[in-house]
Assembly symmetry: C3
């Protein structure tokens, strides 16, 4: 999925006619994303090599999104945990309908990646981000608006995202892009650096493959599997 996202973003960047992109959910239910696939983080079902590839590609995509010259909008129609939340944080603007949002890794015995925590700090300040991340909080849209984690609440996020996009595209690109870069370019470069990511993967793997984390994820996946095939698969 992250390979496809990165390829799509590269294609949009290469198309001079494209000036903006909206990330929306095609699900019927009010879910934005269920987050990353737990299987990619569950040591017994993956390998260090596979995990490293997953971590590098996903964060390389997120870093490209963070400093994309496009106007980037997240149209969040519902639940937005972990992987969905960080994708939204890499956009310029976030519109939400309902559900809750947050980086809830800690609840599953997984550390919040350091750069994801920094992205949340950038958006809402370090104090709020510290509480949210260390306490695995997922907060409702109304609270997210209050602390600036999202920019707007709207019943029809897709229509509102298009309105915001049209309004923003009236601004000339040249100053907007340079100003965006002054905020985000150096952070995106650090975050997407492949050497750094490979090191982070090795360090995280020690924790993911620890007895404690494996035991907790095993319990979580058993619970999710009980909930039945009709519900979303275990995602983070």
């Amino acid at each position: 999925m992250y390979k496809a996202l990165e390829q799509t973003l590269d294609d949009l960047h290469n198309d001079k006619a494209v000036r903006g992109v909206i990330f929306r959910s095609a699900l019927d239910r009010d879910i934005y994303t269920a987050g990353n696939d737990i299987n990619a983080l569950f040591a017994p079902r993956t390998t260090l090599a596979r995990y490293r590839e997953y971590l590098v590609i996903s964060n390389r995509f997120l870093a490209k999104l963070l400093s994309s010259p496009l106007v980037t909008v997240a149209a969040i129609k519902g639940a937005c945990p972990a992987g969905g939340c960080v994708l939204a944080l890499c956009c310029d603007y976030r519109i939400m309908k309902s559900g809750s949002i947050g980086l809830n890794e800690v609840a599953l015995a997984i550390p919040v990646p350091a750069y994801w925590a920094r992205l949340m700090s950038s958006a809402i300040g370090e104090g709020e981000a510290y509480r949210m991340c260390t306490l695995a909080r997922q907060i409702p849209a109304s609270r997210a608006l209050q602390i600036g984690l999202i920019d707007e609440i709207h019943e029809d996020v897709d229509a509102q995202a298009r309105r915001f996009m049209n309004e923003t595209l009236k601004l000339p690109d040249v100053g907007r892009i340079a100003t965006k870069m002054s905020f985000r370019q150096s952070l995106a470069q650090e975050m997407g650096d492949e050497k750094r990511l490979a090191k982070e993967a090795d360090k995280s793997w020690d924790k993911l493959s620890s007895k404690e984390t494996v035991a907790i994820l095993t319990a979580v996946m058993a619970k999710l599997s009980k909930k039945g095939k009709r519900k979303a698969d275990g995602k983070l």
Copy 2:
């Protein structure tokens, strides 16, 4: 104007009897400043050498103001775009009556200078500053108070600024100044560094002299000139 501002500030710093300064508008109308003179940024009416001098002197003054040992107050009685906004951000305290405030450069195809964006981030957090700067937002005093871009709304900003000044001068200078420096000194040093500013000037000039920026500024200046001589000249 920036030369005069810098000279005045230097004089105040050399006068041991002076412990504070209030920046107010002498206009009858409710305008704080109309911002910088667009002519200084409009490539066809200036030169790289002239632009570089303008950029160095204005930011050297702003950096001195940022780390001034004086108590510095902005008494903002009305409209406070771009250059006025950054002057206010370099003060210790901002009292506003009415009008709107913001760094609106992007609307004119001009990047917000990186250090001006950082000053806004320091005041209101990076998330809010990102939206404000990339979307060229100017917000009313009531909203500015809510997000901490100003400290107070008051009908008589001059009287209130004097009250705040008198109250603050009851504090001993020694701890206040050292504490102010621990917040601002290193940022002010970077911001006012002349080598850095000369480089920034060269880089910005590429953008200011681009066809796109010149075309947009030409249109803006034509519009402003139509509005008649009675209104403020094109300022940013």
Copy 3:
């Protein structure tokens, strides 16, 4: 006192059964702490060597607390100036009943230590922290909640701190601790560095032993002494 605090924290860290700690006041009155002992900062009653020892030990303890793997809660039942405020800022969570809180050093002609100011910036943003520190503001619990300096107001802070602790300890430690470190470890390391602290002590001593500071502290201590022995001794 700081030696005892550091020793206690070291003991808790060495006891594998301990996962959290609550810092509460044993006073009957609604006072959290009266802050540091002014005598430790009053040059005529101490020496540079003694002051340096005080500064190193107190900040080494605070740095250990900041990056403690334990869940750390401040149950603040009342007045929480200076030294009490920074202890609370080094905790994970702050619950307050009444009284006011702030880093009020500037009112006594003493600079707010740079790392204490940074801790406040981390908690509430640089803009708010700048105003609070340079203006020596102590704010009531209601305002502290609004700006995020505390997390909750509660009539029974001890009971509420235990509830929060029990709730938080349901989270697995492994992800929570790693996430906490990604926020706080490097700041704690800088803050607790003994070479840096010895330098800071020498620099601060110049100010503490200046005529101006000694004169102001003399006046403050005379005032406090007049208030009688029944009130708290001069503390900061």
